[in-house]
Symmetry: C2
Subunit: 396 residues, 2 copies
C-alpha cells in the first residue's frame, strides 16, 4: 500500500522504536532513578523565563490577525530583519531581512534547501560521523549521499578524501559544527581549507557547489571556543539554524535559513527556497513563535549546566580509562567502544542500565554517542555503573 | 543553480507575486479604503479569546520541558485522544489517539500522506475546480495529476468522467468539501456514489485507492448544511484537517490527519505517515499549539460573520445579473465570468479597483473566485463598483 521509498524507512524504524521501548522496559523493571538514559538529544536546561513573558506580552498587545495570521512564506519581515541585525552584530556580517527565511526548525530548513537545489542523482557529501537523517533528507529529492570516512584522531573532517571525492556531479556538502555526535567544533583553519577546496573544485568543474552549514548547536560551546561563521569564508553557503537547543524550544519547530546575497544566482535561489517552504507544506514557520524570536534573538539558555555535565562525565570516563575526544560543544560525547562491535558494547552497557546510541547509527562504528543533556544527578548516579562497564569491557 | 523542478515553480511564481503587488499599487494610488481586494483566503474573523486564555494558562501551569519539548513525531498522545473524542462525539465514529497524527497544518498533512503512498508516476485524481497547490504536492513525489472536468451546473463532481478515468495506476483521489473555490458542500449522496465507485474499482483492479478528504473548511457551513464525515462511507480515507480557518490560526500551522483503523494495512500506513512527518522536516506539529488545541478541540470562530458577508455579496451580485451558484460553505464565491476570458474579466474588474482570482488558477477557466473573508464594510463599499462592472461586461 505504501510507497517503496517509505517501506524501506518503515522497516528500519523498528530498530529506533525498540531502543525507546527498551528504556521504558528497564524503567519499569528497575525504577526510573536506576536507569541511565543517555540516548536522547532532548534539551535538559529549561527554556528562559523571558520566552514565556514575551509570549504573554505579544498576546496582550497585538491583534489576533497579526499574531496568528498568514504572512509572506519567508516569514515576518520585521522578525527576519531583527535576526539579521543580531547575526550582523555577533559576526560582523551585512545581512538584511532578504537574507533570512524563517523555517519550521532546522530539519525543515535542510529539506527546503535540498529541495531547491537537488536534481535526481546529484551528490551531497557528508563527513562521518553524521546525523543519520541527512541520508533521508537527501533521499527525499532522489539525491545521492557520498560519505567521507572519519578521521578518528581528531574528528575534524578528512579533507584529503573529501578533495578526491568531489566531482562534476557534486551539488552540495553538509557540515555540522558543533557536531552531533562528536561535540567537535571545526577550527577556522578547517573552514578555510574546506572553502579553498570548494572554490578550486568550482573552477575545475565550472559548477556551483553549495556548502550547507547545519548549526543547531552554535551557541552550545564551552571554554571560549569560537565557532567560525561560515558565510564569511565561502559565498555559496546556506546556514541552517534552529532555536531548538539555544532556547530549549525543540517542540516548537522554529529556525531559519541564511542565504547570503553573494551566493551565485541569489535571487533565484531565495525565491526557490521560499517556494519550497510553501509547496512542501510548511507554508511558513509558526507565526507566534516567529514573533517571540524577534524579541529574543540574542537570548540563549544557561549553557553552564551543560558544561558542568560535560566536565563531570568526561573527566570520570577518562579516569575509568575510556578513550574519548573532549567535546567542545553541543551536548554529546563520542566514546571509543573498548570492543570492536559498538552494538555489542551498547548491549553490555544495558546490563548496567546505561542506554547509549551505537556509532553505527552515525555511520561510524566502533564508537558510541552519550548525550549529556540530562540531569546532573543522573550522571552522578550513573558513574559507578560506568566504572563497572569499564571494568568488564576494558581488557588490559 | 536550482533544481529543474523548482525552476519551473519559480518561473510561475511571478504571476502570483504580480497579483499581490497589483493590490499594493492600487492601494497606494487610490487609498486602501477604495481598493476592494477579494483575492486572498486569509480569515477575517478574529481568533476566539479562549485561545489566548488557554495559551497563558498552559504557560502558567506546565513546565517548559512539557510545553516546548519533543514528543512522539505523531504528536502528544493526550491531545490526539482529545481530538479523537471530539470527532467521535460529533460524528459518531470510534477513534482513539492512534488514528490521529498531528501535523503542521493541512498543507503538510497532504504532503506527508502523499509521500507515504505515492510511487513515481502513480496517479492522483482531482476534481476541477481545485486548489492548485494539489498539483505541486503531487509533483513533489513524482506522481501524476489526473483532472476531472467540472460540472458547471452544480459544481458537484463529474462522476461519469471520474469513473472512466480510474485505472490500475490510480493511487488516490483528493476531494475538498466545503470547496475552495466554489463554496459547494458535497451531498451525502455524492459521497456515497464516490465511495461505491472506488470500492468497485478497487475490486476490478485488485488495488487500494485512497480517498484523501481535505477539510480545512469543515466548520464553515451555513443554513444548517451537513458535511458528511467521509471515513464512515469509505474505509481507505485519510481526513486532512487544519485549524487555520475554524479557529483563525493560519499562521500557526496546526492540523491533523485521521487514519481509520479500518484502512487496509493500517499499522504500516500509520507508521509511514509518522515517519514522513519526521523525514520531510516537520518532525512534529508545533508543541504549544498542540496543547492549546487539546483544550479547545470543540471551539470554532463566530461563523455568523462569514454568513453575513456571503448573504450581502451573493444577493447583490445576483441582483446585478451576475451568475453564481450559492455557496454553502467556506468563504468563497465562484462567479461566472460574463466574458469568456476570465483573466480579461479580472483585468476589467481592476479598473474598478476590484481584485479577484481567475478561475484558470483553479483549472476552471470562465469563472472567477471572490473571497468574502473580508470586512463587511468593504463589501458594502465595493457594491457600486460591482454594479458598474456588471454594466460594462454583461451584454444584454
Amino acid at each position: 500500500m505504501i510507497s517503496n521509498k517509505m517501506q524501506e524507512l518503515v522497516n528500519n524504524n523498528s530498530v529506533i522504536r525498540e531502543m525507546f521501548e527498551e528504556g521504558q522496559k528497564l524503567s519499569n523493571l528497575y525504577g526510573k532513578e536506576n536507569v541511565f538514559d543517555f540516548s536522547l538529544g532532548n534539551p535538559s536546561v529549561p527554556t528562559p523565563e523571558k520566552i514565556k513573558e514575551t509570549i504573554i506580552h505579544i498576546l496582550n498587545t497585538e491583534s489576533s490577525f497579526t499574531i496568528h495570521g498568514y504572512m509572506n512564506n519567508s516569514g515576518f519581515e520585521d522578525v527576519r530583519q531583527k535576526i539579521a541585525n543580531s547575526i550582523n552584530k555577533k559576526f560582523n556580517t551585512n545581512y538584511n531581512f532578504q537574507n533570512i527565511i524563517m523555517t519550521v526548525g532546522a530539519a525543515s530548513g535542510l529539506n527546503i534547501v535540498l529541495k531547491s537545489i537537488l536534481n535526481p542523482n546529484e551528490e551531497v557529501i557528508v563527513f562521518s560521523p553524521f546525523f543519520i537523517e541527512y541520508k533521508n533528507y537527501v533521499k527525499n529529492y532522489d539525491g545521492k549521499l557520498t560519505i567521507i570516512s572519519p578521521n578518528t584522531k581528531t574528528f575534524e573532517p578528512n579533507l584529503e578524501e573529501f578533495e578526491k571525492k568531489i566531482n562534476n556531479n557534486t551539488k552540495a556538502v553538509i557540515i555540522n559544527t558543533p557536531n552531533n555526535p562528536t561535540g567537535i567544533v571545526y577550527s577556522e583553519e578547517t573552514i578555510i581549507k574546506i572553502s579553498n577546496i570548494l572554490k578550486e573544485k568550482e573552477k575545475e568543474f565550472n559548477s556551483t557547489i553549495f556548502l550547507i552549514s547545519d548549526e543547531p548547536y552554535r551557541e552550545l560551546v564551552y571554554d571560549n571556543i569560537v565557532v567560525p561563521y561560515v558565510t564569511k569564508y565561502y559565498d555559496n553557503t546556506f546556514v541552517v539554524y534552529s532555536y531548538s537547543k539555544s532556547l530549549s524550544l525543540p517542540g516548537e519547530r522554529i529556525g531559519y535559513v541564511v542565504i547570503p546575497s553573494e551566493m551565485n544566482d541569489f535571487e533565484n535561489i531565495q525565491c526557490a527556497v521560499t517556494i519550497s517552504n510553501r509547496v512542501l507544506g510548511c507554508v511558513n514557520a509558526p507565526s507566534l513563535m516567529q514573533k517571540v524570536i524577534g524579541e529574543c534573538a540574542d537570548l540563549t539558555v544557561d549553557i553552564s549546566q551543560y558544561k558542568k555535565n560535560r566536565d563531570l562525565l568526561y573527566n570520570s570516563l577518562i579516569s575509568y580509562n575510556f578513550e574519548c575526544i573532549k567535546p567542545q560543544g553541543a551536548f554529546y560525547l563520542f566514546l571509543k567502544s573498548p570492543i570492536a562491535d559498538d552494538k555489542e558494547f551498547c548491549k553490555i552497557a544495558k546490563k548496567y542500565n546505561i542506554l547509549m546510541v551505537p556509532g553505527s547509527s552515525f555511520a561510524c562504528p566502533g564508537y558510541v554517542r552519550i548525550s549529556y543533556c540530562v540531569e546532573y544527578d543522573m550522571i552522578k548516579r550513573s558513574l559507578s555503573s560506568f566504572q563497572k562497564l569499564a571494568y568488564e569491557t576494558l581488557k588490559k
